[in-house]
C-alpha cells in the first residue's frame, strides 16, 4: 500500500510542478498576447465585479437547498503531506493550495466559467506597453491579528516571494505603493500570464505577526486574511484549523474548524471515507479510488470542468542518445502502432479516464481534431521496426510508479510490445527516482505528464526547449518544431496562435511521435459526502475549494 502513496505523490507533484512552472517564463522572449480567457482585462474591473464573486458564492450555496447550518468541524482526508503550512512563500507545491486557501487569500480568483474575478483586489489594470500591473485593494479587510490589510502589506509579501526566488515573481522588477489601497507592480518585461501568476499564486501574510513571531513560528502556524487560522500542525499526521473571528465577510465561515488527516495509504483513506470517518477526500484522482467508491450514492465526486489545472498523461520514449533504439522516429511510430492503447486505458481505468491522442485535452480550443493519430496495427509496427533495422526487436525498460493503474498499464503495455519483438521489463520506481529521471533524462519508456491549461505553447515549451525543465534532457529537439514554437510565442492574435499550435501538434505527434503516445486526461478529483455543502471543490480551479462557504447539512 505504501507504494500506492508514492505513486499518487508522484502524479500530483507532476501536476503541481507543471502549474507552478506555468508562470515561469522560459529564456525565450515572451511577447505572447494575453491568454484567451482574459478578454475583459482591458477595461478596469468595476467594484461590483469583485462583489459579484462573493455573492455568486453565497447565492450558489443557498440554492444548495435548505437554510445554512453553522458550526461543526469538517474532517478532510488526503495524502498530501506539506512540511510548511503558514509561511506562504515556501509553499511551492500547488497541491498544498487547498491548505493555503483555508488561512490565506489571493488578490484575484476565478469564477466557474474560468474568468478572473477579484478577491482581495476590487479592481486591477494590466498595461502591456508600460509592463505594469495595478491593483485596487478592497478596503476594510484585516489580518487575523487585527492589523489592516493594505498596500504596504501587499508590497512586503510580494518582496518575500521574490526573496525566496519563487518562479511566479522572478519577472517582477519592483513594487510601489501608490496609496493606502493601491499597488503597482513593474514587470521586467511584459508577459501575459504574469497577471495570473501574481494575482492567484501569491497569498498574503500579516507582516506584524511575522516580525513578532519569526519564520519558525510562521512555518507551523498562520496569520492571514482567510476564513480560518491554523490551530495545530503535526507534520505528516494532521493539520487543524479554527474559525478566524475577524474574517472580512460577516457570518462566514460557517464551520467552527477543519481537521485535515494525512494518510500514508490510499486504500486506508478510501476505507476511512466509506466508513464515514472523513467527510471530504481531496486528490482522489486515481481510478482505483473512484472504482472503490462506485455505487455509494451519498458520496459525490467533484471534477474540474473549465480545464484549469488539468494535465494529459502518456508514455514517452527516450530519444536523445544515438544508441537509443527510440532515436529513430520510425521506431517511435512503431511503438504507437504496436499497442491497443484504447483497450488498455478504458479497461484498466474502469472507463474513468478519458482518452486523448495529443497534448491538449478534448474540448479545449487547442485540441486538433484532424490529427491523424495511430490505430492498433502490429503488422505495421513490425514493418516499421524492420525498416529501422530492428527486425528481431530489442530490449528496453518501462519505468512506472506503483499506483494500481500505472503498474497494471505498464505490465499490459510490456505484454503487447513483446508481440512485436520489443521486450520491455517493468521496473517500479519511487517518487525520488521519478523526479530525477524527469530532470536529468532516462533510457527506455516513462510516463509523460503534460500540463494542458489554456496556454499550450507556453507549457509545451517547458518540454520542447533545449534546456526546458521537464523531459528535455531525454528527447530530441527538432529545429522545425522549435521554430514553430517561437512563432506561437510571437503570435499576435488568438486565431493565428491556435492554428500554429495545431500545426505543432501534428508535427510532433504524427510526424516525429516525439512525445510517444498520450493516453488519458488526468484532472484532480475530490470526493465529498452529500451533507457537505458549498465547498465548491475544484469548481473554480482544479486545486482550490471555498472553505469559507462550506457548511455541514446534518
Amino acid at each position: 500500500m505504501r507504494k500506492k502513496v508514492i505513486a499518487i505523490l508522484l502524479t500530483v507533484t507532476m501536476t503541481a510542478a507543471m502549474l507552478a512552472g506555468c508562470g515561469n517564463s522560459g529564456s525565450s522572449s515572451d511577447s505572447s498576447t494575453e491568454p484567451v480567457q482574459e478578454e475583459n482585462t482591458e477595461e478596469p474591473a468595476t467594484e461590483e465585479d469583485s462583489a459579484t464573486a462573493e455573492e455568486a458564492e453565497t447565492a450558489e450555496s443557498e440554492a444548495g437547498g435548505g437554510e445554512i447550518k453553522t458550526g461543526g468541524t469538517l474532517r478532510v482526508g488526503t495524502v498530501q503531506s506539506p512540511s510548511v503550512v503558514g509561511f506562504t512563500p515556501e509553499v511551492t507545491n500547488n497541491s498544498f493550495i487547498q491548505y493555503l486557501r483555508c488561512a490565506y487569500e489571493s488578490l484575484l480568483y476565478y469564477d466557474e466559467a474560468g474568468n478572473i474575478v477579484g478577491q482581495l483586489a476590487s479592481e486591477w489594470e494590466a498595461d502591456a506597453d508600460a509592463a505594469t500591473l495595478t491593483f485596487k485593494l478592497v478596503d476594510g479587510v484585516n489580518f487575523a491579528d487585527g492589523t489592516p490589510f493594505n498596500a504596504e502589506a501587499v508590497k512586503w509579501n510580494i518582496e518575500q516571494y521574490i526573496e525566496t526566488g519563487r518562479s511566479e515573481t522572478n519577472n517582477i522588477d519592483s513594487v510601489e505603493v501608490v496609496d493606502d489601497s493601491t499597488v503597482t507592480v513593474k514587470l521586467k518585461e511584459w508577459n501575459s500570464s504574469s497577471l495570473e501568476m501574481i494575482g492567484f499564486f501569491i497569498y498574503y501574510m500579516s507582516p506584524t505577526t511575522f516580525d513578532e513571531k519569526g519564520i519558525e513560528w510562521m512555518r507551523a502556524n498562520s496569520c492571514g486574511t482567510g476564513p480560518f487560522v491554523v490551530s495545530g500542525f503535526d507534520q505528516g499526521v494532521s493539520i487543524k484549523y479554527t474559525k478566524n473571528e475577524n474574517y472580512r465577510v460577516e457570518g462566514q465561515p460557517y464551520l467552527d474548524g477543519i481537521d485535515y488527516t494525512i494518510f500514508g495509504d490510499s486504500t486506508t483513506l478510501t476505507n476511512a471515507l466509506k466508513a464515514g470517518e472523513v467527510d471530504v477526500l481531496t486528490y482522489g484522482n486515481d481510478c482505483d479510488i473512484m472504482k472503490d467508491l462506485e455505487g455509494i450514492t451519498n458520496i459525490i465526486t467533484e471534477k474540474n470542468s473549465n480545464g484549469l489545472g488539468v494535465e494529459s498523461v502518456g508514455i514517452i520514449p527516450s530519444s536523445a542518445e544515438e544508441s537509443d533504439p527510440f532515436y529513430d522516429a520510425k521506431v517511435r511510430q512503431a511503438l504507437c502502432y504496436a499497442v491497443d492503447w484504447d483497450q488498455i486505458v478504458t479497461a484498466l481505468s474502469y472507463g474513468y479516464y478519458e482518452r486523448t491522442n495529443q497534448w491538449a485535452a478534448p474540448g479545449a480550443a487547442t485540441y486538433n481534431t484532424d490529427l491523424k493519430g495511430y490505430s492498433y496495427d502490429p503488422e505495421k509496427a513490425k514493418a516499421l521496426l524492420a525498416e529501422a533495422g530492428y527486425a528481431d526487436g530489442f530490449d528496453t525498460v518501462i519505468y512506472s510508479a506503483s499506483t494500481g493503474f500505472q503498474q497494471n498499464a505498464a505490465t499490459a503495455i510490456s505484454a503487447s510490445l513483446a508481440e512485436v519483438g520489443i521486450n520491455a521489463s517493468v521496473e517500479i520506481i519511487d517518487g525520488a527516482k521519478g523526479n530525477d529521471m524527469m530532470a536529468n533524462g532516462w533510457s527506455g519508456l516513462y510516463w509523460h505528464y503534460a500540463s494542458v491549461g489554456p496556454d499550450l505553447g507556453l507549457y509545451m515549451g517547458r518540454h520542447l526547449d533545449v534546456n526546458g525543465a521537464y523531459y528535455a534532457k531525454g528527447i530530441q529537439h527538432p529545429q522545425d518544431c522549435l521554430d514553430l514554437l517561437n512563432e506561437i510565442r510571437a503570435a499576435k492574435d488568438e486565431t493565428t496562435k491556435v492554428d500554429l499550435e495545431w500545426q505543432l501538434q501534428e508535427k510532433i505527434y504524427d510526424e516525429y511521435a516525439l512525445f510517444g503516445m498520450p493516453l488519458y486526461v488526468n484532472a484532480p478529483v475530490h470526493m465529498r459526502y452529500d451533507y457537505v455543502e458549498g465547498a465548491q471543490l475544484a469548481k473554480v480551479h482544479a486545486v482550490t475549494w471555498s472553505p469559507a462557504t462550506t457548511w455541514l447539512n446534518k
Binding site: 466509506k274 482505483d288 505484454a415
Partner: protein
C-alpha cells in the same frame, strides 16, 4: 500407513531410518503438513506443467472475475488467472525461503562454530555483533538492506538471509559449547585428531540436528518476512507472482472481490504452518531423549 512388513531383518542403517520415520510421522498434523509441503514443492518445480494458464498473460476483457469453472480461483485486476499465479507464487516464495535459509544457515553455522570452538575474544566479538543485529527489529533491518540492494528476487533472498543469520550463530554456538565438554571430543584428541579434524569430524555433525529444526522453521518465517516486505512496497518487482505481493495488491479490491487478497493469504498460512509443524516433528525425531516415547 502401516503396511504389515514381513519381519525381514533390516540392516542397522535401515532400522535407524525406519525408526526415525516412525517418530517423525507419528501424528496426523505432521502428515498433513508434509503433504502440503510436497504439493508446494511440486507446484514450484513443475509450475509450467501444473498451472492451467500462463500467469502473465492478461485478458483485459474478463478482469476481476469471481471463482468459475474456467478460472478456479477467478482472475485478478489484469484478468490473469489467480490459480496459475498462486502456483507460480509458490515458486517465488519457496525459492526465497530456501535460498535465504541456505545463506543464513551456512554463514550462521560457520560463525557459531568459530565462536563456540575458538572461544574467548573471538566468541565475544562475534556474539556481540550478532546481538547488535538481533536488536534491530527484523522488518526494519530488512527494509534497510532491501532499499540498499534494491528490489528483485535475488536481493530479497540475500536481504532475508542476512537478517536471519544471528539465529543460527547463536544456536550453533550453544550447541558447540555443550558438545565440546563431552568425552568423545577428548577421546578424539587423545586418539590423535588435530584440533581442526576434531571440530569437523566430531563437533560439527553433532550440531547439525538442532540447526535443521531451526532451518525448517525459518523457511516459514522467510516467506512471512517476504510477504511483509511486499506489503510495505519493498517486495519483488511485478509481474513476478509472489503471494505477499498478491495479497497487498488485492487489498484494494477486498470489498467487492475478496478472493484476490484472501486466497493467497490462506496459502501463506498453510505453507508456513506446514513448515512449523514439520520442524516440531523433526526436533522430536532427532532428539535422542524422546526417541520411542511418542
Amino acid at each position: 500407513m502401516k503396511k504389515e512388513k514381513e519381519a525381514k531383518v533390516l540392516t542397522p542403517a535401515q532400522e535407524r531410518r525406519k525408526q526415525f520415520l516412525d517418530t517423525f510421522f507419528a501424528t496426523i498434523p505432521v502428515r498433513i503438513g508434509f503433504g502440503i509441503i510436497a504439493v508446494m514443492i511440486v507446484c514450484a518445480v513443475f509450475a509450467p506443467l501444473v498451472a492451467p494458464y500462463d500467469p502473465y498473460t492478461q485478458d483485459l476483457t474478463n478482469m476481476l472475475q469471481g471463482m468459475s469453472g474456467a478460472h478456479f480461483f477467478g482472475t485478478d485486476a489484469l484478468g490473469r488467472d489467480l490459480l496459475s499465479r498462486i502456483i507460480y507464487g509458490a515458486r517465488a516464495s519457496l525459492s526465497v525461503g530456501l535460498v535465504s535459509t541456505l545463506i543464513a544457515g551456512s554463514v550462521g553455522i560457520a560463525l557459531g562454530l568459530m565462536a563456540g570452538y575458538l572461544g574467548k575474544w573471538i566468541d565475544a566479538v562475534i556474539m556481540r555483533v550478532m546481538d547488535a543485529m538481533m536488536s534491530i527489529p527484523v522488518v526494519i533491518l530488512a527494509l534497510f538492506i532491501g532499499s540498499i540492494l534494491g528490489k528483485g528476487l535475488g536481493n530479497i533472498m540475500l536481504c532475508i538471509g542476512i537478517v536471519m543469520m544471528p539465529g543460527y550463530a547463536r544456536m550453533t554456538r550453544g550447541q558447540v559449547l555443550s558438545v565440546k565438554q563431552l568425552d568423545y571430543v577428548t577421546a578424539g584428541k587423545i586418539s590423535g585428531a588435530t584440533r581442526m579434524k576434531n571440530a569437523v569430524k566430531h563437533i560439527l555433525p553433532n550440531c547439525i540436528a538442532p540447526n535443521l529444526v531451526l532451518a525448517t522453521m525459518n523457511l516459514g518465517t522467510a516467506i512471512l518476512t517476504e510477504a511483509g516486505l511486499s506489503y510495505l512496497g519493498m517486495g519483488i518487482n511485478p509481474p513476478t507472482a509472489s503471494w505477499g505481493a498478491m495479497v497487498s495488491d488485492g487489498y484494494r479490491y477486498l470489498q467487492e472481490y475478496p478472493h484476490i487478497a484472501i486466497i493467497p493469504g490462506i496459502f501463506i498460512i498453510l505453507t508456513v504452518w506446514a513448515f512449523n509443524v514439520c520442524g516440531d516433528a523433526l526436533r522430536d525425531a532427532t532428539d535422542p531423549r524422546l526417541r520411542g516415547t511418542r
